[in-house]
Symmetry: C2
Subunit: 481 residues, 2 copies
């Protein structure tokens, strides 16, 4: 029954990634890109469920570490938006502006948040008085808007980010802010570890640092086409905003000090990475923690064998009561074989087959999305077995992702030899702008930063093509989305 | 210890409601109204937690009835926004408009959604082909924007609605749409029943019907100042939008038909009603289901009695593991008595006192927000006892709310006698615009609709002041927020 038909989806992900990506977003009901504003897309229920599951992971990590959720307005008066000069320069041009209503022009323009520093910090000035008001650790889950001038890509580069999880903190000292940066890095590491996505962490070069920041880190992973996807930023703002917004507190010694601030954000790109990294030529492959449907039940029966369907319903209810996200596909118009391919394409990590044998034995047969292997277990052992299978699938997904990660990263002392090859380049450098220019002109790719953490082992040091000195600093180069 | 000090909050809610409302929003850390755009407010974490808990109730009700969550863009091209004429007339003037970015003017203006009919239905045209694509039952939780010309009030009437839960449906026949209207009414009834808010349901008069609708129902409750709060709308759109947006399907008989549509939405006003209806002169009073903190633990100990604090922590962890939202107030700078008042003001429905006696007996003493009554129970019985106390508090809150509801509603055949009195007016009418004008000129209040459901018993019929005929139709009149 299984493998005679044609796959419902069959595109080589590594050879034809752009086509693979667009087709799977459509076929698997993730998003619809036909909305009539460029760069703005519609999230269909199946895709949005996956996004909600990803949000839940981040919410848990933020709440566990003492971040509290708040909500600040979307629209920011021009006078407030302009308070921090670098920020205005960096974001002003690409920010949507409300100048009135359908029937009225406003005296002051309102900026539609591209990120919420200015809205938040205007209020923090009013909230912070003494040391007891610090630290502030706050987050919000909001839509933000950026009029991207680069080519837009569904989920990966959009003009309305539907799910921006932005965290902001304020501290009494730089040391505390730096400690917070480490906590934030740790949160994002745990987050992408749960998503089974291998990543580089880089320290962004000064000329590419977030507008209004002292320095920032980026999480970056290669996509199947060899381009770089920025997965999230962790930013030390120092006192730049607190000086612009006059966020001060009276310290215990009576002196008035500006607070030190950090911020960090991730978006639906995290789901974009899950789709792109874990998917294969048959379609999506959701890690069990994220999957909108963790198990699909496919009944295998002849006409009239309603007792098998009844039993399948019983199994469904049994799993649902135990917190499993389960769906029973009892559509009589499709064969079991068709359903196998369909739900493989939709990325469901495990399938349960229920036929006469399972009915008679009060068992269920588990099939995995990652390999041709089935196991029949009793109903009592089913939940335990599913969790054990999921754990193993997680391991397989991460290993597979890491294997491809390695193939998409070229580690070399000689960037010349990477020219024309697909992937990110890792090469020694001296962190100067001159060296960046040299590397970029050799490779045609951008320096994204100095690698501070890598899932693959890098040599302790190497000889940089810039000046030929030995260095332990490795630059990451790539073409970004 | 208990009642010697002054209340931290003490404002007569019924005599001075506007002051009570503004003060409690501030003191209890619900919202901050100092954001520099009129009608846009900041949600502080404590208030936002309550809002999230309310959202969860609605999400559960919508999911249970087969609604799926999606997400549609915030910005709507003018050409799409203008497709349904009545809608454009009704919403165009009060809709925020994006005409460009900080550095660029757009060719076509983008409207910032005041509600999402136009964004959604543009896509539904692409999604609906045959009867098998129907019904659609979809919802989203989004921010929407309305440039209100009426006086704004924090949470109750704002220019950015932070938590609009809008559901939209499409059906093959008018009968199915009408069935959906009944389901929606039922969902909202269950929702406000869980919030312990008594409400009228009215059928809105034709001249006040939602722009682009056939007819709509409103949920309405009186506020402590006697004004009317509209809690949510359930709207039958008929085929108006499907004709404007050409949402058609091929029926089984081969004919092409326009779908029938409904929509219904609620906002953070639901939390505004909870705050206003259940609060009292001591401050907030959150129903246990909604309370950000369901139980506050106050240790009562002398300096050095750290074993009591340790035991309090143990009780906290014990409750937290069992799903109770609990907070241990171990601040050494305040007395237990001060804490009692503080947490009463914040609306925490139950308190646990842990002193020497509780430590020695391995017990906990539960105190209730609604009455001076304490009960000491063993740790093993604590969760069960809390749930039983909460159930009783829910009963008390609803009864109290209903009692005040009755005081704020004047049922009379002679609207003359209600003039100058605080509250909503219920009076017989013949549903004509002439009669509405007459009633409005007598009372100075607006006709909000014909009551179709009431938590208080109304006479079967009455004699209307318009023409003096007997009728079983009762008009609801009030001044709205």
């Amino acid at each position: 029954m299984a493998s005679s038909g044609k796959y419902l989806f069959d595109i080589d992900k590594y050879r034809e990634f752009p086509r693979w990506y667009h087709e799977i977003l459509k076929k698997a009901d993730i998003v619809d890109i036909r909305y009539p504003v460029k760069g703005m897309i519609v999230w269909r229920p199946y895709g949005f469920k996956a996004l909600r599951n990803i949000q839940k992971i981040m919410i848990r990590l933020l709440e566990e570490t003492g971040h509290e959720e708040a909500y600040f307005p979307t629209l920011i008066p021009e006078s407030v938006f302009s308070l921090e000069e670098d920020f205005l320069k960096g974001f002003g041009g690409e920010t949507f502006v409300v100048s009135g209503t359908g029937s009225k022009k406003f005296q002051e323009k309102l900026y539609v948040r591209p990120t919420s520093e200015t809205a938040m910090y205007y209020m923090w000035r009013l909230w912070v008085k003494g040391r007891k008001d610090l630290p502030i650790k706050m987050y919000q889950i909001v839509n933000v808007f950026r009029y991207e001038t680069k080519a837009t890509h569904p989920i990966l580069r959009v003009r309305e980010i539907a799910s921006f999880i932005e965290a902001h903190t304020a501290h009494a000292t730089m040391e505390e802010a730096e400690k917070q940066i480490r906590e934030a890095l740790d949160i994002y590491k745990r987050f992408y570890d749960e998503l089974l996505i291998p990543y580089f962490i880089v320290l962004t070069p000064p000329w590419d640092t977030f507008a209004g920041a002292e320095y920032n880190y980026d999480f970056i992973t290669p996509m199947p086409d060899g381009k770089a996807l920025e997965l999230g930023s962790v930013i030390n703002l120092g006192q730049k905003f607190s000086k612009a917004f006059e966020i001060v507190f009276m310290d215990e010694d009576g002196s008035v000090k500006h607070v030190y601030q950090t911020c960090y954000g991730i978006s639906e790109r995290s789901l974009g990475s899950v789709i792109s990294v874990h998917g294969d030529n048959k379609g999506l492959f959701f890690p069990p923690k994220i999957a909108p449907i963790q198990v699909v039940i496919v009944p295998i029966m002849r006409v009239g064998e309603t007792h098998i369907l009844d039993y399948a319903r019983k199994v469904r209810d049994y799993l649902r009561e135990r917190g499993v996200r389960v769906y029973l596909d009892d559509d009589p118009e499709h064969t079991p074989g068709w359903k196998y391919y369909y739900w493989d394409m939709k990325g469901v990590p495990t399938r349960i087959e229920i036929g006469r044998r399972e009915y008679e034995g009060k068992t269920a047969t588990i099939a995995r999305r990652d390999r041709r292997e089935k196991k029949t277990v009793s109903l009592e052992k089913l939940v335990e077995e599913l969790h054990s299978v999921w754990k193993d699938i997680e391991k397989v997904l991460y290993e597979r992702a890491l294997e491809h990660f390695k193939k998409l990263v070229i580690v070399t002392e000689d960037p010349e030899e990477a020219v024309g090859r697909k992937g990110l380049i890792v090469t020694p450098w001296d962190e100067t702008e001159e060296c960046a220019n040299e590397l970029e002109s050799i490779t045609g790719k951008s320096v994204l930063g100095t690698i501070v953490e890598s899932p693959i082992e890098l040599p302790v040091s190497g000889r940089s093509v810039c000046g030929g000195k030995k260095t332990s600093k490795w630059a990451l180069l790539g073409v970004t989305y």
